[in-house]
């Protein structure tokens, strides 16, 4: 059946000058707006796609006065993306992925928090929205590639035949930590034109192209959570969706089980957190773990936060095949973590055991662990 042919069959060689249509995922921010400018400078035809992901009028109790502004999926951002497309004269469309975004990003985000984990919504959005339905739509409308404003690099390794994911040239902007979930097929169809540039160079391109968003400030917030207040968001969303917040309040205990206080819901805590424990015992205490079953937050000294070994699940191998034997790599356990040397031991069913050479602080369930070999992302998975 013709439908079963893989998309690789018609894939042109990247080394060739690429003439096929490129779809650009445009958020309305300066980074993704610079991508079409760069591609056009190379003489490549582009089409812009902006995803409508979340209805900002939902959860009205989270809205401040006036219209939603300066947030992803706000109308302002959509209009900014359109203004860039009009300025550079290429077709642009807004595509509705609200249903997919809620099912694959928002709902799991809330569920994870409610079960005492600390999720990363951006990774799910990349793996399950941007490089899944959006990439498919790009292909369906006749584009060969999907380009995004991510700071990371992709290259084909001719000796292994694999598509490799690499850190951005600008280490301070590197987003490879959020991209470990991409499959070979997704990588083969994707382009990150900003991967070789620094943020300053990107701004310079934006100014040179006279983009209307060239001076737009950066947004670092989670796009669907107003004002970065995720606790409020989780409460409002749970109410709207009829998810019970399992009685909310519970106990705060020490490692020995001694009750030293009360809390208003485990979703308000993340491992390693010091702020907001709401009481003082004469020395700083940190969240060590969250026990969802007993609705308890376990606290202790900073030294107790440091651990060496942990397991991760749903591992995806990117720049290499699944190894048969233990492997040495630098492992990064959160976005702002400096990768530390570790041994990675493959277990059954897409799980691995990671053992750091030296203890690391606050290894947090729900976050991702990503394995690096120099600049290359070998793979990654979710911390259990």
């Amino acid at each position: 059946m013709a439908m079963n042919t893989t998309q690789f069959d018609t894939l042109p060689e990247r080394a060739e000058i690429q003439r096929g249509l490129v779809a650009v995922a445009m958020s309305g921010g300066v980074d993704s707006s610079t991508v079409p400018a760069l591609l056009q400078e190379q003489g490549r035809p582009v089409v812009g796609l902006t995803m409508q992901l979340w209805n900002q009028r939902r959860l009205p109790e989270l809205q401040g006065e006036g219209p939603a502004q300066h947030r992803c999926c706000s109308l302002d951002d959509v209009y900014d993306a359109k203004a860039v497309a009009q300025h550079l004269k290429f077709p642009h469309y807004v595509v509705n992925f609200e249903a997919q975004f809620e099912e694959r990003v928002v709902r799991p985000f809330v569920d994870q928090y409610l079960s005492g984990r600390t999720p990363i919504a951006c990774t799910n959005c990349n793996t399950d929205v941007k490089f899944e339905p959006l990439l498919r739509m790009a292909r369906q409308i006749g584009a060969e590639w999907l380009a995004t404003g991510h700071y990371a690099r992709i290259r084909k390794n001719d000796s292994t035949g694999r598509w490799e994911l690499l850190r951005a040239r600008d280490e301070s902007k590197d987003q490879s930590y959020f991209l470990w979930g991409l499959s070979q097929e997704q990588l083969s169809r994707s382009e990150f034109p900003l991967g070789e540039l620094t943020k300053d160079e990107v701004r310079a391109v934006a100014r040179r192209a006279k983009l209307p968003v060239a001076e737009k400030p950066e947004s670092m917030e989670l796009c669907f959570v107003p004002n970065g207040n995720y606790v409020q968001f989780i409460q409002a969303y749970s109410r709207e969706s009829g998810i019970s917040l399992h009685e909310g309040a519970g106990e705060i205990v020490t490692e020995n089980g001694e009750v030293i206080g009360r809390h208003n819901g485990v979703h308000e805590f993340t491992i390693g957190q010091r702020k907001g424990l709401g009481f003082a015992v004469g020395r700083p205490l940190y969240v060590l773990s969250i026990d969802q079953k007993l609705n308890r937050v376990v606290v202790g000294d900073d030294s107790a936060l440091r651990t060496t070994a942990f397991e991760i699940e749903d591992v995806n191998w990117v720049s290499c095949e699944k190894p048969q034997a233990p492997l040495r790599a630098a492992v990064k356990i959160r976005h702002k973590h400096e990768p530390a040397p570790a041994t990675i031991e493959p277990l059954d069913s897409n799980r691995v055991r990671v053992t750091f050479d030296a203890p690391q602080r606050a290894i947090t369930p729900g976050q991702a662990a990503v394995f690096y070999d120099g600049d290359r992302v070998l793979g990654g998975g979710w911390i259990r």
Binding site: L21, L75, N96, R136, R139
Partner: protein
């Protein structure tokens, strides 16, 4: 790239003859129709001629035509105007006013009704059958002693299906209830006689029949009690004040005159092309079906479902190939929203999303239909090849 436009239910171009009629009123004959002097009288004469031309298109009298900014204003004025002409009783449960409408109205009607609900008015949204038609018996039994207005659209924008207005008009008359119809999609496409249909209020919009955007009319049967909303000068008997948009009004009148003259021939030719497009697509695209195909429809509209595709992707793919058509409604960001009309005719969400509307115009050619018959099947096939849902459907067979 050559472009083929098959989205005339969204809007139409201004007919060259209409534009010619309008042009003098921008600069040479720029008078204010409310002025006493000669330039004012010239403008006044042009406005009144246009009012007569609009009235003639729908079998009304000129003094029953109020010129408005378009369909949305006309709908809002009719609905709020009837329901709120006395404020008394609005929040009084005993005398709670009641409005009957349908589930497939345009947002201008639906959102006006929802706003009334917030003010304490009860609203019945009549369901429609799979062909998009209301059940007259259901309408009859929905009537209460407090019912003050029945508002049912003439032709639906997404499906083209035409409601049995004559029967509704008869019932409304028997029960002494005001009857409004949103005729934005039928004006110029179907013959309309406000007396034959027994409507009390009718909304129409210029840009749907080759007049410019921003001009429309509300027919108000003599004797209908309606509240006014704008207060100002004496324009339009003080009922809808505001300096008349003379050029736009002239365009509306001219377009009405042309539509009246060409309506029968247009309908015949355009429905022939529409049928050719519809049949051709059904033959070329496996599993495709027509939405609302068994009901009486406007001559220019067909809405097809292509299982296994996302209408949004197909729309973009076709636009990039030079063919303009439409899915359901667009939201303020420009993204496609699930269509309340397709949902109301009973389509599950995935089928509603797999539907596409083609609407033809007065100048649509056979060559353009041939172009559509060439690009649409190819695009559907390409989408299906990349569609996981269609693969599942295909493999299950």
């Amino acid at each position: 790239m050559s472009r083929v436009y098959l989205d005339f239910n969204a809007t139409t171009p201004v007919e060259p003859e209409v534009l010619d009629a309008m042009l003098p009123y921008f600069s040479a004959e720029f008078g204010n129709a409310a002025s006493i002097h000669t330039p004012g009288q010239t403008a006044r004469a042009a406005v009144e001629t246009a009012r007569e031309q609009v009235a003639a298109l729908i079998g009304a009298r000129a003094q029953e035509i109020v010129l408005t900014s378009g369909g949305t204003e006309s709908d809002n004025h009719a609905i709020f105007g009837v329901v709120t002409h006395t404020i008394l009783g609005m929040r009084d449960q005993e005398n709670r006013k009641h409005v009957i409408t349908t589930a497939i109205e345009h947002e201008a009607v639906l959102n006006a009704c929802q706003a009334l609900e917030k003010e304490g008015v009860a609203v019945t949204y009549l369901p429609v059958n799979p062909d998009g038609l209301i059940d007259i018996e259901r309408l009859r039994s929905a009537i209460q002693s407090q019912t003050v207005l029945i508002t049912v659209m003439h032709a639906n924008n997404e499906l083209g299906t035409v409601q049995p207005l004559e029967e509704i008009g008869r019932i409304a008359k028997e029960r002494d209830i005001y009857f409004h119809t949103d005729a934005v999609q039928s004006t110029g496409k179907l013959p309309i006689d406000v007396n034959g249909l027994q409507v009390d209020l009718l909304s129409l919009s210029g840009h749907k029949f080759y007049a410019p955007k921003g001009i429309g009319a509300l027919y108000i049967r003599s004797g209908t009690r309606l509240r006014q909303f704008l207060y100002g000068g004496h324009h339009q008997r003080g009922f809808r004040p505001g300096t008349e948009n003379v050029a736009g009004i002239v365009g509306l009148g001219k377009a009405a005159e042309i539509a009246r003259k060409l309506l029968a021939d247009d309908a015949k030719r355009i429905s022939g092309l529409r049928d050719e497009l519809q049949q051709g697509l059904l033959q070329r695209i496996p599993q495709s079906r027509v939405n609302g195909g068994a009901a009486p429809r406007t001559p220019n509209t067909t809405n097809l479902i292509f299982p296994g595709i996302e209408g949004e992707a197909l729309l973009i793919a076709l636009d990039l190939k030079g063919l303009a058509c439409s899915t359901g409604a667009a939201c303020s960001s420009g993204a496609v929203e699930p269509s309340h009309v397709l949902t109301a005719i009973g389509l599950p969400p995935e089928e509603a999303r797999a539907s596409l509307r083609f609407s033809l115009g007065r100048h649509t050619t056979k060559k353009e239909i041939d172009f559509a018959l060439q690009v649409v099947p190819a695009a559907v096939e390409q989408l299906r090849e990349l569609s996981p849902t269609y693969r599942k459907v295909a493999e299950a067979r």
